[in-house]
């Protein structure tokens, strides 16, 4: 491989690797705070890209309907769970939050969409809606399962994935789409073409990473999340509501997934079921990072991006096989290094 090819591959690998890094970090946040190995992260990516496409075409995106369905389920399940202590105020609050927000989005989007308002409106709107979807999932599934074992939570994550996959097909349809690039502009450095598009992706990822680092180091909510991650019982004893930290973790996963979808939309054709395999790359990076370390996860994700672009250069049809088999030795090493850490029964 000559130097020019190497840089070409490195450039492509860096862009995809950066997106995998975002998804990997989101997986680690969710696992650390809620103990859920959330494998359905990719649905947020695909649904965000498909929502943005619909906005670009001036259509009403299917996610509004999906949010409504999830809102109804969330409302019903919260009312059923809290049936022993239903005061008027509480019922109204549940209705306003769990049902009110999806209805508000449904109405607002129907009003806004036909005027094709442009990315400064549609991107934040897309991220907001996917974030609400993520919180609804937490409320419906993972909050009631808060005390379940890691294994049960993992199986539940697959349950969520199945539901989202089927609903995604219904609400987004079977067609694949590609979003418009942010810009077509490019410049040359030392004979290599650098696309502004790639730089925007990298810059977004770097800014997000810095924001996340600040959030966990300085912000009150971020510290609460860290406390809950280290010791759930201890955190709840000092007044940190673990439902709230779980909700925040899922909201972050939703937002990060949506932003990844916005970034990946122009690069690849996205179908309703494309997300799963993209999300699993983030999961692989997170496992390579031991499901605890953010820097290792980022490093692993970048390595994964480069590995994939190198593998596709040699037209290897076995790249997925290799990517996923990569985590087996890491799991083995962790099992031996801390034999009793993962002991919990289904």
């Amino acid at each position: 491989m000559d130097t020019a090819t190497f840089f070409l591959l490195a450039r492509d690998g860096l862009t995809t690797g950066a997106i995998y890094a975002l998804l990997g970090v989101a997986t680690v946040v969710v696992f650390a705070v809620t103990r859920v190995v959330y494998l359905a992260q990719g649905e947020f990516v695909a649904f965000a890209a498909l929502t943005l496409v619909a906005f670009e075409d001036g259509r009403v995106p299917g996610i509004t309907g999906l949010l409504l369905v999830m809102g109804v389920i969330a409302t019903v399940s919260r009312l059923v769970q809290g049936r022993d202590d239903l005061r008027v105020g509480k019922v109204l609050r549940i209705l306003a939050v769990d049902l009110g927000i999806p209805i508000a989005f449904w109405l607002a989007v129907r009003w806004i969409a036909p005027s094709k308002p442009g990315p400064w409106v549609t991107v934040p709107l897309t991220v907001a809606m996917v974030t609400v979807l993520a919180t609804a999932i937490y409320r419906i599934v993972f909050q009631p399962l808060a005390t379940a074992s890691v294994l049960v939570l993992l199986i539940a994550a697959f349950g969520v994935h199945m539901v989202l996959l089927g609903l995604g097909l219904y609400f987004f349809g079977p067609e694949g789409f590609q979003t418009q690039p942010f810009t077509e502009a490019a410049f040359e450095v030392g004979g290599m073409r650098i696309k502004w598009q790639d730089l925007i992706v990298l810059a977004t990822v770097v800014v997000l990473m810095i924001a996340l680092a600040w959030f966990f180091a300085k912000a009150r909510a971020g510290k609460a999340l860290r406390a809950a991650a280290i010791n759930r019982v201890g955190a709840s004893l000092v007044g940190i509501a673990t439902e709230t930290t779980g909700l925040i973790a899922f909201a972050m996963a939703g937002a990060i997934g949506a932003i990844s979808g916005v970034l990946i939309g122009p690069v690849t054709i996205v179908y309703y079921d494309t997300g799963f395999m993209i999300g699993l790359r983030g999961f692989v990076a997170a496992v390579l990072g031991g499901l605890v370390s953010y820097p290792l996860t980022v490093a692993a994700a970048l390595g994964l991006g480069f590995f994939e672009s190198a593998a596709s250069f040699w037209a290897s049809s076995y790249k997925e096989v290799l990517v996923f088999l990569l985590i087996v030795p890491v799991l083995l090493w962790r099992s031996i290094a801390e034999p009793h850490a993962a002991d919990d029964d289904a």
């Binding site: 190995v37 494998l39 599934v141 009631p144 399962l145 379940a148 074992s149 890691v150 294994l151 049960v152 993992l154 199986i155 539940a156 697959f158 349950g159 969520v160 994935h161 199945m162 539901v163 989202l164 996959l165 089927g166 609903l167 097909l169 219904y170 079977p174 699993l280 692989v284 496992v287 049809s317 076995y318 997925e320 096989v321 290799l322 996923f324 088999l325 985590i327 087996v328 799991l331 083995l332 962790r334 099992s335 031996i336 034999p339 009793h340 850490a341 993962a342 002991d343 919990d344 029964d345 289904a346």
Partner: protein, 595 residues
């Protein structure tokens, strides 16, 4: 409320016969063909789910990769029949061999993974192999292989689902019977004791790693058999039939039926297959578009079971079945006992035991000498290193330094299994019994090393004489600790004090020369303690050596011949009980007074 008797092995015979008869005559009944087709597919799926129940519910290993092994079986026969022109019957054995070898290689790595890492590992296998199936030109890549010939029986090709039915359900009923036989045996008890971390099973000589690998291959073989049937039923194979979504669907069947239940696999497979076929017809009509919408229902059912009914459906069905009659114990059968060492021989000699946990030294140079036929007490304040010393002597923990001699022979590699083979048995401070198993089965695990019969003789019921002898021995030890009336109760229905006695019975079932008892009297009532003391004295009389950790000083002082006092990981005093009582260092350690 939990049922107090075990109902998880086999349902009463009359009912089973009615169900069996109904199953047998189905293809001759005037039912539409699609009903028989569904029954065929349910049978094939039930084989996979049965393996998964064994692996997940009984062995404690959750796998998302079971569809991969269906793929091994299906692709092997598909390639051999289409590319090489073999007859379908000739490919049955190769299909199973390929599956077994694949499972052996994958299992060697996978069964070493602990807890949820194992499940995540199977996710990786499932994704990697579905891509591999889709990439290999030999396997027809993404389109798969088609025009697979049907299985022929006496010259008649089994194309009609009514004709195929017999083959499928003979496989299902046969596998179910073999599996039930396996569970109801020495090996079955060992497999059922693997859940959790398997420490207790290992302490009675069960080779946990080997048992887990064996179980992994067994579950894969059931899947491989299903794959062989599936390939000749569908007459085509493609990668999507064996991907992770298929793996999750098989897991759904196991979870829905009840992961710990053999019959749950049948119930789960039947429900999921019927639902899938019906929903594929109705949902597109209702929704006005075609697509894979049944997965929404499956995902919802999976979540509903996890949130609302973690034990699945079988316990709800089992509630209507009459309880299993208590097991008959043949009291005439007795087990031969090995000789006890002569009284006062030096039985166990530990010298300079050290155990470090990172920077912490939990045990720092403890030496002990136990003579045959005596009882030694190991006492000391909390955190003194008593349980760690126990774990070092039984091989549960590896020692950082020091030597252990048993009957003057130096034991270099002391693992729980070697300790059990040296006839050293133990109880645990935190009771380690299998809650879903009966007291009898739990105690019979103690006699694991006194039996020899393996899985194959268990499946073919060639182990019955040995099995009855083992159970008679277990029953004898249960009566010895005074729990005769609880013999058929589930272990998790007993009180903590009773569970400690069950652990002692299990330790006795090993036919030990040395018993290490970790706080056996904690949680016992006054008269139970008195009975325990009588039992232990009686054991001493028979030549048994006992090392005991206990906080109840009256109990210890009246029982033991010698005492060793630990503090901060080191022995601070050793001697006769009345000497220890007067020892200044001991008083300082317990009461904190300056000597």
């Amino acid at each position: 409320m939990r049922p107090t008797t075990t109902r998880d092995a086999m349902s009463p015979r009359p009912l089973a016969l009615v169900v069996l008869a109904a199953t047998a005559v189905l293809p001759w009944l005037p039912v539409p063909e699609y009903v028989v087709t569904i029954a065929d597919m349910a049978g094939i799926a039930a084989l996979v789910a049965l393996g998964l129940v064994m692996l997940t519910g009984i062995g404690g290993m959750t796998s998302f990769a079971q569809a991969v092994f269906v793929g091994f079986g299906a692709y092997t026969t598909a390639v051999l029949t289409t590319t090489w022109g073999w007859s379908p019957w000739a490919t049955l054995l190769p299909s199973l061999v390929v599956t077994a070898l694949g499972a052996l290689v994958i299992g060697l790595v996978t069964v070493r993974l602990s807890g949820h890492y194992l499940a995540l590992g199977t996710v990786a296998w499932a994704v990697a192999f579905s891509y591999l199936f889709g990439s290999l030109p030999l396997l027809g890549q993404h389109t798969g292989l088609s025009a697979i010939p049907p299985i022929a029986l006496a010259g008649v090709p089994l194309i009609d689902p009514r004709r195929f039915y017999g083959l499928v359900w003979i496989a299902v009923v046969g596998s179910t019977v073999l599996t039930l036989h396996l569970l109801d045996s020495r090996v079955g008890r060992a497999i059922r004791a693997l859940r959790g971390n398997g420490d207790a099973a290992a302490s009675f000589g069960v080779d946990a790693a080997k048992a887990r690998l064996w179980l992994f291959v067994y579950a894969a073989l059931l899947a491989g058999l299903a794959g062989w049937l599936l390939a000749h039923f569908q007459r085509s194979v493609s990668p999507s039939m064996f991907d992770i979504h298929a793996g999750v669907e098989y897991l759904l069947m196991a979870v829905l039926g009840g992961t710990g239940q053999v019959f749950g696999a049948l119930v789960g497979a039947l429900i999921v297959v019927i639902l899938r076929e019906q929903l594929q017809i109705w949902l597109p009509l209702v929704l006005g578009q075609s697509g894979n919408f049944e997965i929404v229902v499956f995902g919802t059912i999976l979540l509903a079971v996890l949130v609302g009914a973690r034990d699945g459906l079988w316990p709800l069905i089992a509630r209507w079945l009459p309880a299993r009659p208590p097991r008959r114990i043949d009291r005439t059968l007795a087990m031969s006992r090995a000789a006890m060492p002569a009284r006062d021989t030096l039985l166990l000699e530990a010298d300079g035991l050290v155990r470090r946990f990172g920077g912490l030294i939990a045990v720092n140079g403890v030496s002990l000498a136990l003579r045959a036929g005596t009882t030694t007490g190991l006492i000391g304040p909390n955190g003194a290193g008593k349980s760690t010393t126990f774990n070092l002597l039984t091989g549960t923990l590896a020692r950082s330094a020091g030597t252990v001699r048993v009957l003057a022979k130096k034991i270099a590699d002391l693992t729980p299994q070697t300790a059990a083979r040296l006839r050293i048995s133990r109880t645990f401070q935190h009771v380690k019994l299998v809650g879903s198993m009966s007291v009898l089965d739990n105690v019979a695990i103690g006699a694991h090393l006194r039996g020899k019969r393996g899985p194959f003789s268990a499946m073919l019921r060639l182990d019955r004489v040995e099995e009855r002898t083992l159970l008679a021995e277990a029953a004898r030890q249960i009566e010895r600790v005074g729990l005769g009336e609880f013999i058929d109760r589930r272990a998790d229905s007993l009180s903590l004090g009773q569970l400690r006695l069950v652990e002692i019975a299990r330790a006795l079932a090993l036919d030990p020369i040395l018993m290490l008892l970790d706080e056996p009297a904690a949680g016992l009532r006054f008269h139970e303690k008195a009975a325990l003391a009588t039992l232990l004295r009686q054991l001493n009389g028979d030549g048994m050596t006992v090392l005991i950790v206990e906080h109840d000083m009256d109990f210890v002082m009246n029982l033991v011949d010698r005492l060793v006092v630990l503090d901060f990981g080191a022995a601070i005093a050793e001697g006769l009980p009345h000497e220890i009582r007067r020892d200044a260092a001991v008083q300082a350690a317990y009461l904190g007074v300056a000597a």
